[in-house]
Every structure is written in C-alpha cells, then in structure tokens.
Amino acid sequence: MEMKPAGQYIYSDIELDREEGQVIADLKAKSLEPIPDPDQWLEEELQQNILLTTVDALINWGRRSSLWPAICFPACCAFELIAANGPRFDLSRFGMEIMRASPRQADLMITAGTLTWKMAPNVRRIYHQMAEPKWVIAMGACAISGGIFASAEYAVVPGYNRIIPVDVYVPGCPPRPEALIYGIQMLQKKIARRKNIDMRKMLER
C-alpha cells in the first residue's frame, strides 16, 4: 500500500516551540544552586512553635489528615506511588486516595521520578498553581540528586530542589511504598508542629 506522506500538522508552531525552549533555557541558567529547604528558612518560625494554640492544633490536624496529592508522576517512582495507593499498602487509610487532577485543589506534591530540564518549567508551574499551604515530598534518588542519571547533565535536573523547595526527602531507587508512607508520616509530624496563628504578633497589636 502506498502511504500518503504525513501532512503538515495544522498546529505545529515552531515559534511556540522556540518560546518554550527559551523558557527552559532561562530556567536552566537561573537554577544553578539548590533552593534551601523550608526547614532552613522557616527556622525562626519553627523555634516559636512551642506555643501552639488549640486552633492551631485543630487546623494542623485537618491539614495533616487530608493531604490530597497532586498528580505529578514523571517516571519510575510513580509505580511505587501507585502501589502505595493500591490495595496492599493503601494510602487511602490516611485520607489520601483523592488524587486531585487539578493542582489548585492539591496540598501535596509527591515528585515521583526524574526531572528533566524540559519538564522543569512545568513542574515549577504546577507548584506555583497549588494553593497554600503546600508541601513537597521528593521521592527517590532522581528527585533528590538526579540519581543514576545525574551525569547526563545536559538533560537531567540534579534534584527537584533546584526548582522548588522540598520538605521531605525519601531515598531509594525507587523507594519502597513503606518508605514513602514513612516519609508521609514524617511530613504529617512536621505539619503538626506548624504555627498558623501568631499569638505574639496578635498580642503586640
């Protein structure tokens, strides 16, 4: 059979591709240093955390009990994440089975997989689209440092913390679902210590 040569795409906009390429190049040039973890720049706030009000406790309880993950499944670790959601490991026990497809409604980004520079602007955008308060778990070696792909530095971002601040790191290649669940529990503990209402400031006023 004689095949018709594939016609021109109606929508194949080289200009748009160039624009997107420019965004990637800019981001790559800008993110040379890792963004410090929130623990470091929130340190001062964390030290005041001994004074938790009841309201704080309630809010934190709500937030840590219903962490809805955003969908961000670039690579291999995604399958351990899905396995963690699956029947055996069952993240739904923690109220986490609602995977919000829209980042606006999600609280937690589990970055399951290698990040490439081409993907980086999109991940950053998803992170910015998520509504505060939001948390990030870097899952797997690639998400922490680039893992075994780190030496392909022309394409691979050495760790998500070049792009977005990361709260909890879960090592492994890929981490087992148990490890991920442990990481989530650590995050829950972290949220429980969070201070939402600053009594001192309110009193000063």
Partner: protein, 367 residues
C-alpha cells in the same frame, strides 16, 4: 446537520491524569472533535543512550531497568540477548528457563497494568486498575524473592542470571499459577461484556493491518489488527521454540480488540510458564563471563517480544569495555506513529481511550 466551529487548541499534558506519565499532546479541536494532534515528547529524556556509552556492559543493565519501568525484566532480557550475540556467550540451560519464566511473569504484570490503565481511561474509576494492582503485587513478591527489588530488578546478566532461584520460589510460583486463572475470569466477568465498555471501545480508533505494518507497529497493537507476528514464534530467541503456545490475533484492530488481545496474551503467558515450570532443569545459572566483557568489533541487534512490542538493543562494539553505541528500539515511541491517524475525527473522550489502548511508557519513549 453538522455545525462547524472555529478550531481551538487544547494542550494536553505533560501533566495530565491520563497521559501515562509526562507525555504531551497539542490537540486541535473542533467542538469536541479532534482535528489534529501533535505529540510532544522529551519530558523524560534522560540520555540513557548517551550514558550507556560511558558504562561497562554490565553497568548498563540498571539503566535498562529504568527504560520501560513496568517491564524491567524484559528490558534486561533484550539487552542481555544483544550482549550475548555480540560477545558470543552461551547461556546455561537452567538460566534460559529462569529467564523465560521471569520474562513471562513480567509480561503478565505489565499487561495487567496496561489493561487496568485502559479501563481506567474509559472511566471505570480505579476499580479494575486496583484489582489488577492486587495481582501485580503478587508477581512483584515473586520478583522480590529472586532479586530483592520491587520495581527495578537488575536481575539478568550477560550469560545467565545474577543468582539462582531461591528454594521457595517455585512453590510460591505454583501457588500464584493456581490462583491467576481465577482472577482472570474475575476480570472478564467484571467488564468484558459490559455494554458501556463495548459501546465506548468497539469500532473506535481502528488501525488497519497495512498501516500498522507500514508504521512499524509491534506487539499487541499489531496483533490486534490481525497481523500474526510474534517474535517469540517467528524469530524464537532463547528457548521459546520449545514451548507450545498460540499467537492470538483479533480481527478489527479497534480499542476493544487491543484490550481483548492483552487479556488473551496473559492467558498464553500463563501457558508458557506452566510448561517452563515442568521442564526446568538443574545446573548452573550463569556462564563463565569475565566481569569486563570485551566483545569483538562488530554490531549486534538483540530483540524480544516485550509487552509493548518489539524491544531491541542495537549494540556497536569497538572492542572496549563499553559499547561504542547503544541504540534502543523503543516500541512505545514507534507505536505512537499511527496515533495521529487513529484519532483524527474522533472525540476527546475517544482520543483518551485510543491513546490508552496503545499502552505506552514514557520512560521508554524518551529514554
């Protein structure tokens, strides 16, 4: 009467619930009808082919695990075949049987995910997907027994497998084999005759056989179009010529056929495992292969029938410890060639299930 409206462009992905990873499509729509799509790749390009040129032959195996990460064992298998072809290594008998068992188990696991994800794309809200994950966990348990890993196994070696099967493996496999057909019947009862599924998938996204061949489609997608072509049968590698199994095909080449095809293939894989379990001999599991392989100058192409299609490794050697060039034939990427022709004129909802029925893994597309 058909009302024509001005086309508008919808950007699907790279982060979209049903693009199976970080795949992206620029979809031009007329109302809800797809006029054109342009796939955009590369969101997971990790330079595996480049990295392979810096690694020893044995060191590439972990990289191959991460290609199509839901069928890692098969990737190892194809790569090891290519290296053995290149260096002229003979594999011991027992290792061949272990490879076949492992490879077919992995095929079942990967096809389970493919079918589950397809049904999920049809909108069956996770139920079939999670059922199939339940069974996949059992297979993963078996793999964990032999390799200690859950996803990236790094188990096969050039010239055999890394270690022998543990004692308790074969009884555990026996138990799994007794259970699995029941589960398969359960899936069939759940959705096979479902009116909505048939209405959604039958006749949708037809891929004619000629075009499938012209587009170099392989694997279940090709067979669902009625082409009886299975590398296990037509170019038997390893010891596949010793087993008795059928190559199922489907007549129409639509989404429903591709779904049925995968279910049928799982049953055939069970048959192969059954026979291999009976025949498995004892003996060494690894040939005497030096740690640093220096294959003679030349090239070799090792290919297997992986759950997605023909997975091949094209290795070029310059007699050093690392391949001069390591090209991977990615079935996921090549199977997508026909996507554009399949979806034009269908609706957004059809686009999703046609795409889902091709069954891709982005790790393999972008490498």
């Amino acid at each position: 009467m058909a009302v024509r409206t001005e086309p508008f462009v919808l950007n699907m992905g790279p982060v979209h619930p049903s693009t199976h990873g970080v795949f992206r499509m620029r979809v031009t729509l007329d109302g809800e009808v797809v006029v054109d799509i342009e796939p955009v790749f590369g969101y997971l390009h990790r330079g595996i082919e480049k990295l392979a040129e810096q690694r020893t032959y044995a060191g590439i195996i972990p990289l191959t695990d991460r290609l199509d990460y839901i069928s890692s064992m098969n990737n190892n298998f194809a790569y090891c075949l290519a290296v053995e072809k290149l260096a002229g290594i003979k594999v011991p008998e027992r290792a061949e049987y272990i490879r076949v068992i492992i490879s077919e188990l992995q095929r079942i696991a990967a096809l389970l995910i493919a079918v589950g994800a397809f049904l999920n794309d049809c909108g069956a809200f996770f139920t079939p997907f999670l059922y199939m994950f339940r069974e996949r966990e059992r297979i993963v348990d078996l793999f964990e027994m032999v390799s200690g890993q859950r996803l990236t196994y790094n188990y096969l070696r050039a010239g055999g497998v890394s270690q022998d099967l543990p004692e308790e493996f074969l009884p555990a496999l026996r138990k799994f084999m007794d259970m699995m057909p029941r589960f398969m019947d359960e899936y069939d009862r759940l959705l096979q005759q479902n009116e909505i599924l048939i209405a959604r998938a039958k006749g949708v996204g037809i891929l004619p056989a000629e075009q499938a061949i012209n587009c170099s489609i392989s694997g279940p997608v090709l067979r669902a179009s009625g082409v009886k072509w299975d590398i296990r049968k037509d170019d038997p590698y390893s010891i596949y010529d010793r087993f008795d199994f059928d190559v199922p095909t489907q007549p129409a080449g639509d989404c429903y056929d591709r779904y049925r095809q995968r279910v049928e293939e799982m049953r055939q894989s069970l048959r192969i495992i059954e026979q291999a379990m009976k025949q498995i001999p004892s003996g060494p599991v690894r040939a005497e292969v030096p740690h640093l392989i220096h294959p003679p100058v030349g090239e070799a192409y090792g290919r297997i029938e992986c759950p997605k299609g023909e997975l091949g490794f094209y290795l070029v050697s310059d007699n050093s410890i690392a391949p001069y060039r390591c090209h991977i034939r990615p079935p996921s990427l090549i199977n997508l060639t026909a996507l554009r022709d399949m979806v034009r004129g269908w609706k957004v909802a059809d686009l999703i299930i046609i795409f889902g029925s091709i069954d891709i893994t982005v790790g393999e597309i972008d490498r």
